[in-house]
Amino acid sequence: MKLIGIVGTNSKKSTNRNLLVYMQKHFADKAEIELVEIKDLPLFNKPTDKKLPGSVLEIAQKIEAADGVIIATPEYDHAVPAALMNALAWLSYGITPLLNKPVMITGASYGQLGSSRAQAQLRQILDAPELKANVMPGSEFLLPHSLQAFDADNNLLDLGTVQKLDALFEDFCLFVKIAEKLSNAQDLLHKEAQDFDWEKL
């Protein structure tokens, strides 16, 4: 199974990146997880020519080719960071790489909430008509106190946390397979998404 892990921040140091790096290693025998950075994307500004930057197309192609996507989101001001919103804005501007794509949401935070509000918002965003991703339901993975969560080799210290992540990832692998079968409406949704135009509403 081939998965893409999107690092939801443009910051040099990020425990969300650490979490994805951990998952990449920890689940190496179950899936190949390629990490994707969003820090070099230009700021989205609705270009009228609908021309997408090469860096966006590159990420879109990787997502298209993958079986599923894992997003690790930090929480800034009770919400998804602008950098991640930016990536999703580009990835829904005339292209639909995330449409019907199985998505698992994870997140880490320094405090004790583990990016809960950002994750809830991210679900709403991914449900928007131009994105329509297939987010795994009932799968919240919150990593609180993330600065203390890893050891020097970037392994998660807490056994309970590891077990929860293991179980959720197991479910996600299953969810990817189920989502493949949810294809009845896929062509229709693709067409709808591609034809979608706010100007014509």
Partner: protein, 404 residues
């Protein structure tokens, strides 16, 4: 009341910009609205320096000084825009201009929703600890079907919609008044009245307190004079014309820069003893500490307070009444902050004048008269002097920030 409006979109065409422009124009007699753009702010990145962006500095300065902020947000992917979120992240990281600031949210969208989801998210965001804004509860203004909502002149067509918008804005004005008491002024740091922090325009070669400062600096810098033309931001005058213009002002004007150096006053021709704030030619260029060196230390604290209040953006101006003036004189000092193009503090324009003739003229013109009442100088000198009947105020007053 002074509000700033933030266009929550960085795209060239925006119905949210149109909405704010309508608000500015339609309600111009009710409040002043300055519309600010976010299109040049780079994407938030905690590894980068916020002060590198001119637009961000401007936003920070303007928001800090505004009585309230109106944000018009589009909705994109069921939430607010990347550009707006990015600005809010910048303005809640190293600086916090939204802290305790009254904010009103509105939005326009192509479809029926009128940015309902974006507005809810924006409320959550503005409530975050780093932002800490006071968002007006209720009064949700959603402008759906924005394409059809405006006429050719940019006015909202529906009378009911305009009336509802007016109600929401009136509620916001009341709300701003109500939460004013919760505002905490920024702490004022010690002011350097000795001019030890030269700015770009400071001439360091001549001692500020040199009595010949003007002549020496003019020679050193080849300063133009006489009939040489000077291009101003909207006009061209000769130096002589500028001088005539400034000398004819019915006020005593003083310019002190950001480094607390007293650079200029407009009444060098006048008998110093006839001035409301006595100045002599040898003072030009002096350190503020030198200009005020006759003041007792307590008064010096007041000078520091005035400068610090303006520098911090707690107030845009400070007004004081000078006590003990003769009966036919109401000696008012108005200290107005000056700003660099990015909105940061650039010094003080002090305006001193006798308010009495203006007041008498106004009363005569309007047939109004002053009625009695106990006037007192409130500690908050920014509330205008006109609240007090002048004679009593002068009897009562004892807290002039500076008498010079």
């Amino acid at each position: 009341m002074k509000f700033v409006g933030i266009v929550g979109s960085n795209s060239e065409v925006s119905y949210n910009r149109k909405l704010l422009e309508f608000v500015r124009k339609h309600f111009k007699d009710t409040f002043e609205l300055e519309i600010l753009e976010i299109d040049e702010v780079p994407l938030f990145n905690q590894d980068k320096n916020w002060e590198d962006s001119f637009q961000l500095r401007l936003l920070n300065n303007k928001i800090t000084r505004a009585d309230g902020v109106i944000i018009a947000t589009p909705e994109h992917n069921h939430t607010t825009t990347t550009a707006l979120k990015s600005v809010l992240e910048w303005l809640s990281y190293k600086v916090h201009p939204f802290e305790n600031k009254p904010v009103m949210i509105m939005g326009a969208s192509y479809y029926d929703q009128g940015t309902s989801r974006a507005q809810l998210h924006l409320r959550n965001i503005l409530d975050a600890p780093g932002v800490n804004a006071y968002v007006l509860p209720g009064n949700e203004f959603l402008l759906g079907k924005a394409k059809e909502a405006f006429d050719d002149q940019g006015n909202i067509k529906s009378k009911e919609t305009v009336a509802f918008l007016g109600t929401c804005l009136n509620n916001f004005i009341k709300y701003v008044d109500v939460v004013k008491g919760l505002k905490k002024p920024r702490p004022i740091e010690e002011e350097d009245l000795d001019c030890n922090h030269p700015i770009k325009t400071t001439v360091t070669e001549v001692d500020p307190d040199d009595p010949e400062w003007v002549e020496k600096v003019a020679a050193l810098k080849n300063a133009v004079s006489g009939d040489t033309y000077v291009k101003l931001d909207h006009g061209i005058l000769t130096v002589d014309q500028i001088n005539m213009f400034l000398r004819s002002m019915p006020f005593e004007l003083t310019y002190a820069d950001d480094n607390n150096q007293f650079l200029y006053y407009n009444n060098a021709h006048q008998d110093p003893d006839a001035m409301l704030a006595k100045r002599v030619p040898s003072q030009s260029g002096s350190r503020l500490s030198t200009v005020h060196n006759s003041l007792p230390p307590k008064r010096m604290k007041n000078v520091e307070w005035v400068v610090g209040t303006l520098r911090n953006g707690n107030q845009e101006y400070v007004r004081t009444l000078v006590p003990g003036s003769p009966e036919n004189i109401i000696n008012t000092h108005h200290y107005q902050a000056m700003y660099y193009p990015d909105g940061s503090y650039a010094g003080i324009n002090e305006l001193v004048f006798n308010f009495k003739p203006w007041l008498d003229w106004y009363l005569k013109e309007t047939g109004q008269r002053l009625v009695g009442g106990k006037a007192s100088m409130t500690p908050d000198v920014a509330t205008s002097a006109s609240q007090a009947t002048p004679t009593e105020a002068t009897l009562d007053a004892n807290t002039g920030a500076s008498e010079h």
